[in-house]
Amino acid sequence: MASLYPYLILIGSSIILATGWLLGQARRRAHIINELVSLNEKLGFDLPNLLRHCWEPLEKAGFKGISWHLDWFGSSLSKTEGSQGDVFIHRKLEVDDITLSVKLYDGNRRFEQRYFSTVLSESFFLLLYTDMWVKLGTVQGAFAQTAKLSVFLQHDMKNIVQLISLVSEQLENTPAGKEEKLLDSLRSVMPILHERSERFLSTLSNNAPTENMKPVNISEALRKTADIHNLKIDIQGSGQVLINEQSLNSICDNLFGNYIDQNRRNPEIDLEIEICIIDSDTDLEISIKDHNGKPCMWPERLFEPFWSEKGDGLGIGLYHARQLVQGAGGTLQAITPGNDPMEFVITLPKSV
């Protein structure tokens, strides 16, 4: 038995050495995969750029060479780096308008080397494939959003142009004795037109205005917007906030718009909007709640741009309102308590 000890020690040592070596190799490959992932992230998940810069880490992994041919939305790109040979791993990837053919040249690898090589190449191909989908998703999303935005802006713009053209025609040809009536009508129309034009402009702009910040009475601003929409609200409390007035009007407009849309969908349920303004040391907290409102089914989607519950809205109202509130140094949250109606809570810096 004692004579077997040296052999057992030798076998055990070999196993330990082999395992250690394999672990080292695996760690090295994992490090290279991480390097490729980081490189991809650094290059903004841009496929042509990744292909141009991937050779260095792949060479470290022991590949002999790479050649690729990319058809990128109708433009062809190709490159070969390292050396070519008879042994290679070939993959053709296709996603809509992007087609990629990659060959990774490898030596005659066997056993564990072949396994490591396969794991690394598959990880690399997966990265390339992900980049193709990321690009396609971005392009398709941008097209869809632009089309949606264009439809919405066109609709609003046509209404504004129609209104202005009718008003100017009326001003030119006012029948005798009807001047006062026209003036009365303009007194009602102009604030609505002003509000509409501001909303139109703020839809086009992503930036919250930080100029012309001035003390604004929050309850007056809320009432003004509610009156424009013919919306009954009950306000408790008052206070002044420091904000760009145009931004505040847009915030109120977007929040009330949410209730108006809900009411139009369920006209049988009357709105019962209660607004509480609470004064704290530095901020005003404004909570808005429709007591007859339905619970929110999509709390996680409320502020997602270009998402609307029925797919019939532009879906940037609440997102835009939050941007504007944040631009004014405040916060906008939606509290969605299970089966109870949703509540918006805004904090805005107080004017002192």
Binding site: F152, V161, Q162, L163, V189, N230
Partner: protein
């Protein structure tokens, strides 16, 4: 167009002899500012204006006032103001409920497809935004003229205009059935769902009216 001889026109509120100033126009537009300006334009030209901002409110107004001569209709209405769905639903509702009012579409939606869809559903005229007030007034004037003349024909000559969209390939049976349905609905509406009077007016037995009610699924609430 199908003509029907009517012997009971007394219930129709004939306005043809009244001055044009009394013609009632229903404005269906969700933009309050534009609605107000359009109201002004039409009022200054001696029309009486009623306003609705959605299909639901338009339906209520039409039910309350059957003497509306024309609708000026925006196709993009809430809850989906950026599609034509609600506006087309208003046209369908007006046609299905056999209102005599003519529909003038004034919309900012895609011109080609909207015009086709609106005319297919039974709109009288189509204007795209922005339109000049003269064009809007001309369209409304034509719509009121047609409304009044059709009313006159109905009262004086017993003629009723029914609109049928027919595909030649569907054959005569489909056209006949649609005409039958519209005629029965029309007469039932005029007689306030009085089966006896409707049968008499159509020269049919009461059983035949019950047969049509069942066949076309006509209910009292259909309008």
């Amino acid at each position: 167009m199908i003509d029907e001889t009517s012997d009971n026109a007394a219930e129709i509120d004939l306005q043809s002899d009244e001055p044009q100033s009394l013609a009632k126009i229903l404005l269906v537009e969700d933009d309050p500012a534009l609605r107000l300006v359009l109201r002004n334009v039409l009022e200054m030209n001696d029309y009486a204006i009623l306003e609705a901002d959605s299909k639901a409110s338009a339906e209520i107004i039409l039910k309350d006032d059957p003497n509306i001569a024309a609708l000026v209709l925006d196709l993009g209405l809430p809850p989906s103001p950026h599609t034509t769905t609600e506006g087309l639903a208003v046209i369908k509702m007006v046609v299905a409920q056999l209102h005599r009012a003519k529909i003038v579409v004034l919309t900012g939606q895609d011109e080609e497809s909207s015009a086709l869809a609106a005319i297919k559903e039974g709109a009288f005229d189509f204007l795209s935004k922005p339109s000049r007030s003269a064009d809007i007034l001309n369209a409304v004037q034509r719509a009121v003229l047609f409304y009044r003349k059709e009313l006159t024909l109905e009262v004086e000559e017993g003629l009723t205009r029914l609109q049928i969209n027919a595909k030649v390939s569907d054959g005569l049976k489909a056209v006949r059935e649609e005409a039958e349905e519209k005629l029965v609905r029309h007469v039932l509406k005029d007689t306030q769902f009085n089966v006896y009077q409707s049968a008499a007016r159509l020269g049919l037995k009461r059983e035949s009216i019950y047969y049509f009610l069942k066949k076309f699924g006509i209910k009292r609430d259909d309008g």
